[in-house]
């Protein structure tokens, strides 16, 4: 057990080092740097030179990377190249907002998807099953920005029930207006809902077809008990790994969803940081995303092992 954690956590650290180094290399390769981006059209050779010095861009790349890495180890994520604010503070509130959205989508979406999956499996080939299989196909096929704008057309411009933009006053939490979370959360959850539902359905159908389920039915257990005590727990095992793999997908979806609804989260900050070549900010954001991804994979393996005694932690 201890060995498992040591190995996995060191793997995560190696991954994060790799991610940060490659992002650093990629931003190095981008044309122009923060100084040219900040000065825009009004740049001359002299003020460009001065700006680079001010931002510390005149050191060779490896020195800058190691400096940055040294800072991160001490908990200092550096300062934004654009306005000199500490990156930690900038990222922190946005991270909170994004987490709020993601957790909201996840907590509402996953149980619903699993429930619908079980329901359609039990009612296999019924009208409701066909209906949901069409819905899930459409949900999987639509990119987040299409789902988003279609939802805006239906619920904002036509019905007028929900706001089309999730902008909040700077400094206030989206929780002050919870209704702005609904459309982004539905959009974010759309694809995941479909995958998780399809997976649950397929697995439950498979389990219902096994010998032990037939035994349970034949010895006179109620159908409800057969489904919920016998088939569903076993069907959940493969489903769980799909759910956690999906966490990583959700992170990508966040970038698009936040952009569609102008939601003040990490994704939009990420887009700005790429535009302005703000390396420290971009690094911090990419690290957070990669760390979240790595941790969700770890959680996947842990929950899998916890649910399945046959799988050891090795």
């Amino acid at each position: 057990m201890a060995r498992f954690f040591i190995v996995r956590i060191s793997l995560i650290i190696v991954t994060l080092l790799f991610v940060s180094a490659s992002i650093f290399a990629m931003t190095e390769a981008l044309s122009g740097d923060a100084a040219t981006a900040a000065l825009g059209q009004g740049r001359t050779d002299e003020n460009l030179e001065a700006m680079r010095k001010k931002l510390g861009l005149d050191d060779p790349p490896h020195v800058r990377y190691l400096n940055w890495l040294g800072g991160v180890v001490q908990g200092d994520l550096g300062e934004s190249l654009r306005d000199g604010q500490p990156v930690g503070g900038l990222v922190f509130t946005r991270l909170g907002n994004s987490l709020l959205l993601a957790v909201f989508a996840f907590v509402v979406g996953v149980p619903t998807a699993v429930a619908v999956g079980i329901w359609t499996a039990v009612k296999k080939d019924s009208l409701i099953d066909r209906l949901f299989s069409v819905v899930s196909l459409v949900a999987i096929s639509l990119p987040e920005f299409v789902t988003g704008v279609v939802l805006i057309i239906i619920f904002s411009t036509t019905l007028g029930w929900l706001p089309s933009s999730s902008l909040v006053q700077p400094g206030t939490s989206p929780l002050s207006r919870p209704e702005i979370l609904i459309l982004p959360a539905i959009t974010l959850m759309g694809v995941l809902f479909a995958y998780i539902m399809r997976m649950t359905r397929a697995n439950v159908i498979e389990e219902l077809d096994t010998n032990y389920v037939r035994t349970a039915t034949l010895k006179g257990l109620s159908y409800r008990r057969v489904v919920f005590r016998h088939a569903v727990p076993n069907a959940m095992l493969p489903t769980i790994s799909v759910i956690t793999i999906n966490l990583g997908w959700m992170l990508g979806g966040l970038i698009i969803v936040e952009s569609v609804f102008a939601y003040p989260g990490l994704g939009r900050l990420l887009l700005t940081s790429i535009e302005t070549r703000d390396t420290p900010l971009l690094q911090a954001l990419a690290l957070i995303l990669a760390a979240a991804y790595a941790i969700s994979n770890l959680v996947a393996d842990l929950s899998y092992a916890a649910l399945n005694p046959r799988v050891g932690l090795n």
Binding site: L137, I153, T157, I255, I256, I274
Partner: protein, 319 residues
């Protein structure tokens, strides 16, 4: 004794292989069989025509446009469908039908070419690494895992922004930006394809015909490309269709974020982005490109489902 093409051999069978030496025939037959198989599944019956329609538009669409796709009709801005403009107009009064038709070619070619590169390179890496095994496999797969630790869209954004800065000599700007999107799609796909094909190769390499090829003393490349590769065909087919639908999602998402084909060339993703500010005035402006993207991806996903059904492969998990 030298076998003469077309003459019966010792078993009395005509040497069919040699009498029909054109390999294109075999490919065409395989493709025909595959389509017939697909048409037996209900997903394939809906998906194939949808794809065929989009392919048709991609090939001949640009020459069918009722108006030039950049022509302004300022007195007809943000109109709904009418006889004059069958699908309505955008914020400059440009004909949406013409813009959709001429935008189809770029998104479909970019996605197809991008996935083709990604799948080809990923397959080569995955199968070779799986066949080779040992230290090489370990190192290659760790590198692939490293790339997979980027959420796909983040990697795509970085690669797309990075590529945008490069300048390739002897290439027009319009062509160059398409090349960059193709590169982006390929880079994102390589590690994911490599992983799937590696696990397919691991199963196949234990089979008898691979062992006997090895005992015959065939070289490694022969075993990888002539023994293992053809037997991954069903996996590869499903993977290709799944990848293609992701490629379209990726290309249109990049377009939506402003990193796609630049104006005035029409880009379905960017059209949706532009339409958002006029969403209260005109819903058709948003809905037309949305439906174009949706039907294309739905068609591809249906074919992917049909292929899985026809070859009885398990459903894939998303990555």
């Amino acid at each position: 004794m030298v076998a003469v093409p077309g003459t019966p051999d010792a078993d009395g069978r005509a040497d069919v292989e040699a009498s029909k030496p054109i390999w294109i025939w075999r490919w065409a037959r395989a493709a025909y069989n595959e389509i017939m198989l697909l048409l037996r599944t209900s997903s394939g019956r809906i998906g194939l025509p949808l794809i065929a329609l989009h392919l048709f538009i991609a090939i001949v669409g640009p020459s069918l446009t009722p108006y030039p796709h950049t022509e302004f009709h300022l007195e007809h801005r943000l109109e709904g469908p009418s006889l004059e403009f069958l699908l309505g107009t955008d914020q400059f009064g440009r004909d949406l039908l013409s813009r959709i038709l001429s935008g189809a070619t770029s998104i479909i070619t970019m996605s197809v070419v991008g996935s083709a590169f990604g799948i080809a390179i990923g397959t080569a890496i995955g199968i070779s690494s799986g066949y080779k095994g040992g230290m090489v496999d370990e190192v290659v797969m760790r590198i692939m895992d490293g790339f997979m630790s980027f959420p796909g869209l983040l990697l795509a954004l970085l690669v797309a922004t990075m590529a945008r800065g490069l300048e390739i000599p002897l290439m027009s700007a319009q062509f160059e930006e398409k090349v960059f999107i193709v590169i982006t799609i390929a880079v994102v796909f390589i590690p994911r394809v490599a992983r799937v094909l590696r696990s397919a190769a691991l199963t196949i390499k234990e089979l008898e015909f691979v062992q006997s090829a090895r005992l015959r003393g065939e070289p490694g490349w022969y075993i990888v490309f002539r023994e293992i590769l053809p037997n991954t065909a069903p996996v590869l087919g499903v993977e290709a269709s799944v990848r293609l639908s992701y490629a379209i999602l990726l290309a249109s998402s990049l377009g939506f974020l402003g990193l796609g084909v630049q104006p005035p060339s029409p880009d379905w993703g960017r059209m949706i982005n532009e339409s958002r500010q006029f969403i209260t005035t005109s819903t058709t402006f948003t809905l037309v490109p949305a439906i174009a993207i949706a039907t294309l991806v739905i068609g591809i996903n249906l074919v992917a489902d049909g292929l899985r059904e026809a070859h009885q492969l398990p459903k894939e998990t998303p990555q």
